[in-house]
């Protein structure tokens, strides 16, 4: 089979493509970044992003319910005002 014929090449290309995707970003500069410092900052940044999205969606959900709650309150108030007006008449 043709696939098997080129299997080795295919695997190599796949491996290289994967390597491109997860290509290690070697951090070098005139000061030492420190391995431990790089790892912890990645962890902190990841958590910070999760917290950011959590807050963002939480606000969306809250605003969504607030909207309905306000709408409900408004409708209720309007019904009550209508009833009072009817009573007055």
């Amino acid at each position: 089979m043709k696939f098997f014929k080129y299997q080795k090449d295919f695997i190599l290309v796949l491996f290289l493509s994967l390597l491109m995707l997860i290509e290690p970003l070697i951090v070098k500069a005139y000061i030492d970044a420190g391995t431990g410092s790089i790892i912890i900052q990645a962890v902190i940044a990841f958590i910070a992003v999760i917290i950011f999205y959590f807050k963002f969606f939480w606000r969306k959900i809250r605003d969504f319910f607030r909207y309905f709650l306000n709408k409900y309150k408004k409708d209720k108030d309007n019904v009550e005002t209508d009833l009072i007006d009817e009573h007055k008449q």
Partner: protein
Amino acid sequence: MNTNNNNKNSIECDSVKIAASFRDPSGYLFIKKGILYRNITQSYRKHYNYAKESGLYKSLIDDELLISHSEINDDFKTSSETYKILRPERISFISYPYEWCFSELKDAALLTLEIQKRAIEANMILKDASAFNIQFKNGKPIFIDTLSFEKYKEDSPWIGYRQFCQHFLAPLTLMKYKDLRLNQFLRIFIDGIPLDLTSSLLPLITMISPSTLFHIHLHAKSQKRFSTRKKSVSLKMPRRNLIALIDNLKSAVNNLRLKKQDTEWQNYYDNTNYSSDSFLKKKKIISEFLNIIKPKNVWDLGANTGVFSRIASDIGIETISFDIDPLAVENNYLEIKKRNDKNILPLILDLTNPSPGIGWGNEERMSLEKRGPTDTVLALALVHHLAISNNLPFKKIAEYFSKLCKNLIIEFIPKTDSQVKHLLMTRKDIFTHYYEKKFEEEFKKYFSIKLKKDIIGSERKLYLMCKKEL
């Protein structure tokens, strides 16, 4: 062409390289004929041009966040290694992080983060985060290292993160949770306070605060855990995550606030034996003396919260307001921020052990004496603390002051004054030479007394002295 080139200055000839600028290969600072220059090497060419063309330099300079500079390549005969010569605006007095109070260090940290955020927006990044890259100008912190910016490589982490934690977060958390005087650690550790040391000194309660837990405690653990790793670290950190990290650091620094506390000198003016009338007279005499000598700059030694420093700064004289008490310096700085004072800089200084030259060859950071002399020193209600509390003979005091200034406004407080009595209350009076005549006699060896005035309502005397050319 040749003649033209010969007229140009050579960089090497008659120039003095600044001892503090050798770590970064992007360039160095040098002084030639009293003017400060910055040499940019070819290795920094790409980054310099990008910062210039992206408008990052302009926006930071316009907002007074970065020191301004002008390109003056044409004046110099340059080697192939040199890309450009800049002439940066000069800061009149260089101060160091171990001389700053809590809020000065906090403002410097916030400035670093603000610059980092703007750099990322311009597709650049700060390659370091040293507190020594910040100075104070017009009462506000300003970034002085024009070559700290690098083109941002997508998905790369912040190299300067470790340095930021060691130079800013560590001293600030130690000052907040442990003791205000712990900023002095920055004098011992030139590249910031080691995080394992900070972590071990901080109280357990700091584990509850997420920012201290992650940026200090877990950071220290992570450094220890990976210190023996032989391979270089490889991980991607998307831009979004980097911005989240900077925002997180910003809120961590913003949340560090000092508790209200009393200080040794805070109520000093309430406890002195001045009447409010003689206090005003003292201010008037100092003002008169300053009007006679018209100094360009003043160092107020033992300035407390800067009450007398403001006499000088209010009339446009650049004033450095030194005090040993970190809380007095803190209050002075907060007052400056409130009043938007531009001519005064409060700094922490123990005059009996002033900032020495530190770093490589003890030359990287200058001693106090090397940053002088100043035009005028104000030494008000100070001599009795030096002579009695610290057993310093008048001769030693006069000799050191003569190295620091050209003019001296000094107050003499006799033994009959309640402040001196208080100092002698718990110790044997061994100070047989502490009297006015002896004071004048010793100071006359280094200074000539121009004026002497009594502070009416007290037994204190104010002198205006000028340094003798020995």
